[in-house]
Subunit: 194 residues, 6 copies
């Protein structure tokens, strides 16, 4: 069983001199900030201290693991409680391939033509979420589920749609009109998501 | 006054052989599909047949104007009626610079740290919306308003958040949990936005 | 009327750590040098202190506005007196889309096959100048004219051909032969353009 | 247990018009060749018909799954018998992140300074192989092992060093000198690896 | 002596399916249009049929040699008669490194700050011309000279400044004002360079 | 004759502020670290202190010549004694075009389909080695030979296959299995190549 995920990096210490701002063709084999630790082994245990949504995730980008710097990749572990959901979100800087380690997960994305592509994916299956498109997941099995996602950016970014739209004090009149909500309905959404 | 926007392209007819899939450094000066029209002049009048949201836009990407093909840019004209809104949306493939031609417009974006940057922008002002971040606009003046947006992609893409999330038949249970809605509230949103 | 152009940026202060050297896919939402100013509003009034050529421009690249850093875009305001000209020039690092705010402007570019594409563009029209190609403009109307240009680079660069070729002390013999000029003719050009 | 890996793609049929030659920023959400199959589900069972090296792999690039086209990612499943090895190889067009599904695997890479970074990685661990560097693996546990690798290219390419160098009829004199081999030793290597 | 330059390509015949529009990271080892010739050997003899400028060049881009397709490089051989010049020009899509095979050549470029960098380069020396900047050469030795230039684009493009500006029917009034020429002087330039 | 190769750079001193990590579209004309030397002329004499392989090379990347920084190119001079070889190697970050200055050289590369493309190239000929593919050379003439290689990266990287595989203490069991060697044969290879 995958009760934990250990992340391992084999790194050496060299002097820090850049944090690059782009994903592109690297000019060096790798580029790691200065650190006294030559070989870094990182163990991410599965806390599974699920929030209200029954979901917990551990993103591993170059901010967390400098060894990924300039290499154009990063990854994430996502755990779902029964009925747990990963709310509609997108990554502005990366395509994602999601590999199911455990469980049965309803998963999908919406393209710019507002077409929905959704399906139940199971252990050993992979689903692709194209760069910048809104996607989501829900554990519809009867036991906890786990996914490992890979990104083609060292810093894919994450925008959770509910929090971005309703939790950030956008002018009420605009949101009411945009979603067809009355003042009371919006207040409830804003309250729940900020 | 800007009662209309005419789009002009000076193109020649050469034989079609590629529609490229990427924004990058072009390998040619330009690349235009085969057409009998040597010089193309396009006039986009301001119809201003506003929808419920009091908003109308005319995107000019390489799909519409082949002359933009491989050049890595496109643009849009957006007209706002009084109180008209451009609903929260993002462009997965481009940064946008928006130039106000007429009017007073409440405008903003939300970054991946869920910080809101919003301000009223006026005639002659420019605002920048970083690539892939949710942004929105609302005409808060007492007369119609107009913006011209420029993109650094020939096909920036457009995801309107309300339509993408509520108009596309994502599993109800997931959306209810994600936004904290009950079944009836969700049904109203889905109905209004599909 | 557009007697002025105000440039607005909504920025927050974060610590400076890179000035990137490339236009590419950003790895962050934005990246702004350290500054005490949280919200920056810039107003560029139209000075219109035209030079001999009857032309004045205000380029707004990432050097001037750090908020554009890593976003891959910049812009320029260009004012033309009656008969004013923007001399043949090119931008080595960007395509430009030019939007006419006021006036009637003779405008064109030359491709690498030495074909000229020139036309009179008017208020509300847009013309595209492909990356790295020589282009020019002249106000042929009977009142001042204004253009707003957008670039798909945060630092497009500018090479004015007359100044680059004749104002920079290239060996006389080479220039005489290249342009078919005698010593006296070249001296006049060099004198006028350095 | 992971006795199989099923690959799932949710695709729709659109008309084929390009197979792009580059990994870069896509200009579209996705781009899939013409096919009558709207939703494609692919199941890759673990055959484990190991060769002499005790190793079998199933690469899933855009050649195999058109849905990956223009998205800049692909992946691979690799199975190791006890003592099975993945010979020294490299991917000329991608960085790889390798996730251990089962087993204990000796794994490493060599950088351009001829430094070896090698370690035993176990279930739930991830190791990164920078783009274009030679790497290798060996199952040193006492049961079969499995890895899932992700690449940041839709077509990473694969060069197995032993086959490339000794199995391709490079002039004998050159190889003898390059590796310090006599004629007989080289003949044995060439014979075993072609 | 280098009385000739033979260009050799080792190619195989595969089916044509794309001519890519971008320099970027290739997705394949190489990509060559369909041809019955498996191994292509091309011999470019030094014609040295110099024009008025005492200069002749043989550009070898992917248009001429399909084997360069998607590889992001091309090259050129340039021969100079005594006093021969390569007129001020630039390559919109590539940096150039120029290697002197024979002779003494006055060579330079102008940056966007209108600074001139010029020097006499000799046999065995290399000079770099940054992407998109105007540069030029003149044989100041007493015997013919030869340069081999390499580009980091499969199609660097070439804009000869005299021909682009004076040979293409740009409105006279604009050019007169831009260069400070009277009608007669311009007519002479236009005549000589068209 | 080319008994030496002088490398010339025309640079000016500006303040250092970045060492970029990527080959891409530069945002500036050039970018050179702080140095008191305004004009740098570098002379690389041909030492020809050949090693056992009868080969000596002088790579000129941006590490050595800061003037190449952000320009996306570099080059190398390679000298071969009679029978001298350049061992099988690859450049993970660049395509190479190799120009023969003197001599007759057996030269080739192997693609990812394990096809060998090899030929004898002579003075004035150019051969292309696609990015990331293993290639090699051997002087088969009866006098010393010289090649100048150009790369489309400011830091192409170099992996000599014999040294990378046999000189770096990879686990013996793995190498024995990968190459079909017994313990004694491997020991000899490791000893000779570390």
């Amino acid at each position: 069983m995958f009760c934990m995920m250990r992340i391992l990096f084999l790194l050496i210490s060299i002097h820090f001199y850049i944090i690059s701002a782009f994903d592109s063709d690297p000019l060096q084999d790798y580029c790691i900030p200065h650190t006294p630790i030559h070989f870094l082994q990182k163990c991410i245990t599965s806390h599974r201290d699920f929030k209200a949504t029954g979901f917990a995730s551990i993103p591993v980008s170059s901010n967390v693991f400098p060894g990924l710097n300039i290499l154009g990749m990063s990854f994430v572990r996502a755990d779902f409680d029964v009925d747990g959901i990963n709310v509609p979100h997108y990554h502005p800087r990366a395509t994602e391939t999601a590999f199911v380690l455990e469980g049965r997960i309803y998963s999908g994305f919406i393209d710019t033509g507002y077409r929905l592509f959704a399906k139940v994916i199971e252990k050993g299956e992979v689903m692709v979420f194209p760069k910048g498109l809104i996607h989501f997941q829900m554990n519809i099995g009867d036991s906890p589920a786990t996914i490992v996602g890979s990104f083609n950016s060292q810093n894919p970014g994450l925008v959770k749609v509910p929090s971005a739209v309703f939790g950030t004090s956008i002018k009420e009149e605009l949101l009411m009109k945009a979603f067809g909500l009355d003042k009371k309905e919006l207040a409830k959404l804003n309250k729940g998501l900020s």
